[in-house]
């Protein structure tokens, strides 16, 4: 909230209660649904004809799907940053952003899990992982840690929501019958007693402590899927830290974009203030510098040595087929946002929004660059293979499914914002009272 502006509980409640979609909201939602349906049709074709509809072949067997998976896992880490780390550090200003961060985390992790199954030619064999899985395999660790992170994130979304559910139930006239039933099912037992608050607070603290190592594990394990494979570009001991720093950056970038959109659409200027953008801007610039530092390590050191086996891979990134995308990801995803956010004017809402979009888009391409070029440059030369095995560009089905999954994640966030308060009402009221008493 703007400093020195004390708002009444009633006004806060009225401002933050979920609202029906307006015209723009309907267009946005319909567009996302259409993209999802196109993706679903493309997946139907993949199920019917097999992975042959994709352009993945013997060498590039991890294409846009796995890039998308890494992107989703990365962006999901923001839940642990904004909610857990800030909460434990008692960073009060971040309260309005916690739910935004948590829903981004939950929707991203759901679609990370789904996209892994999409990558399987025979999805019904997914069960074999549990029936015949080996704990020695990093893929197994990834499945375990994703399931764990999903459950913790869901709990971290649900527990702080309980006091708000009581408010939503109180304002029955402002909601539909089915939503009212949903609220009652989820939170009718919350009376707001001291004992309930005490248990809830304690549980949230336990969750915040638990989610941090799990979040680190989820992305470290994802990085190990690559780093435990001896290949140019992946053979790095630095991959865990490199992935985590990138994940925090894209997650924070995603939150900035969501902050701007929700603020603008729901007119939340009193709750998501310029101070929030200023503070987030400082965090994002720090994270971008950190990620840039890891990128320098990941590319400059191998480039300095230029081992014969890695030469083709590095050349393809620096000056070859992937060079435009590589330099786009570095410039747009890191350097330009750093330049924008270093200046105070750059940390205003709109420039921050632009920087956030640049970070998220750059990060998506960065994941593509981590996965695909390496696969096109195996240590042993490609021999006796058709010419198209030497290149990879996703088929329309792959694009449709990948875009469908991104639209699906946005749709989850959109529906969540339609059903639940995107800024915690009860916590905002409590903080307002505390501020009032302080004054």
């Amino acid at each position: 909230m703007e400093k020195n502006t004390i708002l009444s509980s009633e006004q806060i409640t009225q401002d933050l209660l979920p609202k029906k979609f307006g015209k723009i909201g309907l267009i946005w939602t319909t567009t996302l649904v259409i993209i999802c349906l196109i993706g679903a049709y493309a997946y139907f074709r993949q199920l019917k004809y097999g992975l042959a509809v994709t352009n993945m072949r013997d060498y590039v067997s991890w294409g846009i799907y796995i890039s998308n998976f890494v992107f989703f896992v990365a962006i999901s880490l923001v839940g642990s940053l904004i909610t857990a780390i800030f909460r434990i550090a008692k960073v009060k200003w971040a309260t309005p952003l916690t739910r935004i961060a948590e829903i981004i985390a939950v929707s991203a992790i759901v679609f990370a899990s789904l996209i892994i199954i999409v990558d399987m030619g025979r999805p019904e064999r997914f069960m074999n992982l549990f029936l015949h899985g080996r704990i020695q395999s990093p893929i197994m660790w990834d499945v375990i840690v994703i399931a764990t992170y999903f459950c913790i994130s869901l709990l971290l979304l649900y527990l702080p929501l309980l006091p708000d559910l009581k408010i939503l139930i109180r304002f029955k006239e402002k909601t539909t019958n089915s939503l009212y039933k949903l609220y009652r099912f989820q939170g009718s037992f919350w009376k707001g007693t001291r004992e309930q608050f005490k248990i809830s607070e304690k549980s949230i603290n336990v969750l915040c402590i638990t989610i941090i190592p799990v979040a680190f594990c989820i992305h470290t394990v994802t990085s190990w899927l690559f780093a435990t494979t001896y290949r140019p570009g992946w053979d790095s001991t630095n991959f865990g830290a490199y992935f985590i720093s990138g994940a925090f950056l894209v997650g924070a970038g995603g939150v900035v974009v969501a902050m701007y959109v929700f603020r603008k659409y729901y007119k939340l200027e009193k709750y998501i203030t310029e101070l929030h953008f200023e503070n987030m801007g400082r965090i994002v610039v720090l994270l971008a510098l950190l990620y840039l530092y890891f990128n320098v390590n990941e590319y400059l050191v191998p480039a300095f040595k230029m081992k014969k086996s890695e030469e083709a891979h590095l050349a393809s990134l620096f000056t070859g087929d992937f060079a435009p995308m590589f330099w786009f990801a570095i410039l747009v995803g890191m350097i330009l946002p750093i330049i924008i956010l270093l200046f105070k004017k750059g940390r205003k809402p709109f420039p921050m929004f632009i920087a956030g979009v640049m970070i998220v888009v750059g990060a998506w391409f960065k994941r593509y660059l981590i996965v695909t070029p390496t696969l096109l440059h195996p240590f042993l030369p490609m021999q006796e293979v058709p010419a198209n095995f030497h290149h990879y560009f996703p088929s329309w089905e792959e694009w449709a499914i990948a875009m469908g999954s991104l639209a699906g994640a946005l749709l989850v966030i959109t529906f969540f914002a339609r059903i639940y308060p995107i800024i915690p009402i009860q916590e905002t009221i409590t903080e307002q009272h505390e501020e009032q008493e302080h004054q």
């Binding site: 704990i135 020695q136 709990l155 004992e195 248990i199 336990v206 799990v214």
Partner: protein
């Protein structure tokens, strides 16, 4: 005055020298690079016969393999009934062809043959032709083992239409096949040349070579790119090596690469303790939610 003239001549030469690369570059832009076509004849173990068409071009002063070129190859004359086939060169500029059964009578009719290859002009390259003459030939490998001494006797024979006659002065490699397709030469010489009887004898100087599980080594006699006979290769298995048993040191042990039932204990302990620790916390938190629910439904304040 004289020095002024010399200066002028010097300037003219300098200009000419500087202009030469420009002229050459302009010429290069207008002229397509010359495509070099070669059709190689390969015979393995005196049975498996095939042709390899190779396309390359000199680009920026270096020979580079040219992929994607359609090569047509005929046997003896360019007529449709003597067409061996068409192939498109791969990334390495190579295209493989096998002589079809329909040309068996033509093949059997003569001891000498000619392979005629041709390519059509493309946007990048002019058309190219190649002719390769070969005489039918074969290699036989025999071994002589006398106590410590082990010799490889190789004879190369050419077909004259009726009989197999010795092929003298043929350069060939004799040795042992190693992993990855390379050849370990038998003696100190890199190559051997057949004598007037078409024979070569090479003593295997390398001792204690590791063989397969039964101690077998693969002896190889190979003629590479011979103008008369093409490429010939014969292999023979001999029990001259040391039997190497597969390393079973790790068999049935708990390792990172074992089956799921042989997971290392330390990994199991780590994984299960982490999983149980975290999931124990999650279950505890679910019970806390149930507790909150009970408090709410019982109306306790």
């Amino acid at each position: 005055m004289k020095s002024k003239n010399i200066n002028n001549i010097g300037r003219a030469i300098l200009l000419l020298v500087m202009a030469m690369p420009l002229g050459a570059a302009a010429q290069q832009d207008s002229v397509k690079p010359k495509l070099l076509l070669n059709v190689g004849y390969y015979m393995n173990n005196n049975q498996m016969m095939y042709l390899l068409a190779n396309t390359k071009a000199k680009i920026s002063g270096k020979f580079k393999q040219v992929p994607g070129i359609a090569v047509t190859v005929y046997l003896d004359k360019e007529s449709p009934d003597q067409l061996i086939g068409k192939t498109i060169t791969n990334e390495e500029g190579l295209g493989k062809l096998i002589i079809p059964a329909s040309l068996k009578s033509v093949w059997d009719a003569s001891a000498q043959h000619q392979f005629i290859g041709s390519t059509e002009a493309t946007k990048e390259y002019e058309s190219a032709t190649a002719e390769t003459d070969i005489t039918k030939s074969k290699i036989t490998v025999d071994t002589i083992s006398d106590g410590e001494t082990r010799k490889i006797a190789v004879s190369v024979s050419a077909y004259n239409g009726k009989d197999w006659i010795p092929a003298p002065d043929v350069e060939l490699k004799v040795g042992v096949a190693r992993i990855g397709g390379s050849l370990l030469t038998a003696g100190d010489e890199a190559t051997y040349t057949t004598d007037s009887t078409g024979k070569v004898s090479a003593e295997l100087l390398k001792k204690n070579l590791p063989g397969d599980e039964k101690g077998n080594l693969i002896l190889v006699a190979r003629v590479d790119e011979n103008d008369t006979y093409g490429n010939l290769k014969v292999e023979k298995s001999v029990p001259w090596g040391i039997a190497v048993k597969p390393n079973e040191h790790f068999f049935d042990q708990r390792t990172l690469w074992s089956t799921r039932f042989k997971t290392p204990i330390w990994l199991l302990a780590m994984a299960y303790s982490i999983v149980l620790g975290v999931w124990g916390t999650i279950i505890y938190l679910v019970f806390q939610i149930i507790k909150i629910k009970k408090l709410g439904t019982s109306g306790e304040l």
